[in-house]
Symmetry: C2
Subunit: 333 residues, 2 copies
DNA sequence: CTGAAAGCGCTTACAG
DNA sequence: CTGAAAGCGCTTACAG
């Protein structure tokens, strides 16, 4: 079963390859109807399918973008990916998704791989440790946008949640419900903007309400350390009565701990999670969360990138776009 | 910033393109050390990155496979994808994932698109409605494997759960716990093997235990109809006391209904779900589930496909490979 | 209105 | 040990 190529179609239809190519690209300007029909028939008869690889090589464009997520295990990532995909689909772009697994070496390899595959642009949830590489992409004016996190001093547009506000909404709600000893647990010890900003929002909201910041109430550790960190926190003489989970993974670890220790929510411990997890509405009790507008954020990232890809001229607005979090009040606080 | 090509490297290193190509492909057999060094230096100096597109065109192979999932919303899909990706990664293959959204038209478009992109093979969670297309792929001896579902009479290897057993494990557990009025709810009204086999397993296990099959106790409907179907079932004079959820989406809808109607699990209704959902272990009460070996299944699918891609000769074993489900007993039954 | 020719960036069989 | 040449399957500027 030999592959049928444009040359075969041309021969079958008794025209040149050029004419077949024009036909396929719908440049009919000066093509006789008769020719069109002959080509169409030849294509159907032979079952011809164009080879996009060959076209891409010639056109130096693949109509494909790469998406590198820091960690696919976060529901946020998968939701954003869907939004990116939908938006690209509408504009006849394809996406290739890679999971860096929070590993900057993997991230670097994926960037190289995707560029070798000639993707037209990149959406990255940056691990933030490959600054030199990011810089060289900027220098080349390679189209790129950051999602979720940003890296200071880089002229790369970033699509981000208003993280301070997200933490602030949660803390303010705790306080409004009468809680004073409020803790926060989140994942990862690395230098990632999301974490830093959420912790800042947490602290600032406490201060604004005249409460003091207790460092033992704030833990950011690896996922598998979260239950221990919580245990330590709850073993303090004056343990927190309410906990903000910095993201979905942290929330799930906390819920496991609570369950294993037969604690009650919210009487033993009140809870709010950033990220509206799938089971929030039907958990017992239902979980108060801070939702991110994941769909809007993904769509925006795709639009900004596609825009950049089209106007090659160095774009102006390389700033951070912030999206609004939303507090969804349920029964866990 | 012009792209640097192999020709630039060759000129810089004072050798021919052929030699550079040999170097890159590690065919050093007869290459002098001096030449190697010169080429290496030229590559570093110019920051040369090979263009995989060009290579693919020449080699007629992209080292990329396509994965088309029926519905990305099932956790099963995302877990399988990860396993496929890991396995491919080890063997220097890349994957492009597409979500057919349970829409056979979309599936068809994605198959065309991926083939146009010259992927070397396809893993499909088939919607099962494009039989003609599947057949023509088989005729061309195009490498392909099915996941999760199969399509009768097609010489395509299929990686599947032992679905009858999955349902059977659950029903037997219900019965062993003393339940007699047992129902089943699952998604989708289409003709998909998974659904059919699970319902068969459900029925057969009832019969084997001397119970009768009540058709009103078995519902397979669209996701947004599940709560209504459950309501109808629970409004029967003799409503079921236990329900098997056919998959994760069904389970979540059932949990929503139970919560909204202030019912207790398992006293008002016992529950088992097929698919070990993320929150099963820490839900209140924890949920008894039937887990699929998603990682093994994904890895197997990738291995079978890569195997097929390598030995072009029409492979022998085009049969169905069944994987064992596992009952994880917790507190919902 | 259509065709011949060059070229995208690689690989590879062959010559020397 | 290395190079010249052909070719993968397209697109496109240009000629007629």
């Amino acid at each position: 079963m030999k592959k049928v190529t444009m040359a075969d179609v041309a021969k079958q239809a008794n025209v040149s390859k050029s004419t077949v190519s024009q036909f396929l690209n719908k440049r009919y300007d000066y093509m006789s109807d008769e020719t069109k029909i002959r080509i169409e028939e030849a294509i159907n008869k032979l079952g011809y399918k164009p080879n996009i690889i060959a076209r891409s090589l010639k056109q130096k464009s693949t109509s494909t973008i790469g998406v590198i997520v820091a960690n696919i295990l976060h529901a946020f990532s998968t939701q954003v990916i869907r939004a990116i995909e939908d938006t690209c689909h509408e504009q006849d772009f394809h996406i290739i998704v890679c999971n860096a697994d929070d590993d900057s070496e993997k991230e670097k390899r994926y960037i190289d791989m995707l560029r070798a595959k000639q993707v037209d642009g990149l959406i990255i949830f940056p691990t933030a440790e490959n600054v030199d590489m990011y810089k060289s992409l900027v220098r080349e004016e390679y189209p790129i946008v950051f999602m979720d996190r940003n890296v200071p001093e880089l002229a790369i547009p970033s699509i981000m949640l208003d993280n301070e506000k997200a933490a602030s909404l949660a803390v303010q709600h705790f306080i409004d419900q009468g809680y004073k000893r409020i803790g926060m647990i989140t994942t990862s010890v690395r230098n990632v903007t999301t974490r830093i900003e959420r912790i800042n929002g947490f602290k600032n909201t406490l201060l604004k309400n005249g409460l003091t910041i207790q460092n033992e109430y704030i833990q950011s550790v690896e996922v598998n350390q979260i239950q221990m960190a919580l245990k330590a926190m709850l073993s303090l003489e004056a343990p927190p009565q309410a906990i903000l989970a910095g993201n979905d993974m942290a929330l799930m670890e906390i819920l496991k701990y609570i369950k294993e220790n037969n604690m009650e929510i919210p009487s033993d411990l009140a809870l709010i999670g950033i990220d509206d997890v799938s089971f929030a509405s039907f958990y017992n009790p239902s979980l108060t969360t801070v939702a991110q507008p994941t769909f809007k954020m993904g769509a925006e990232a795709a639009n900004v990138l596609l825009q950049k890809i089209r106007n090659q001229e160095g774009n102006e607005n390389e700033e951070i776009k912030r999206f609004e979090p939303e507090l969804i009040i349920r029964k866990s606080c």
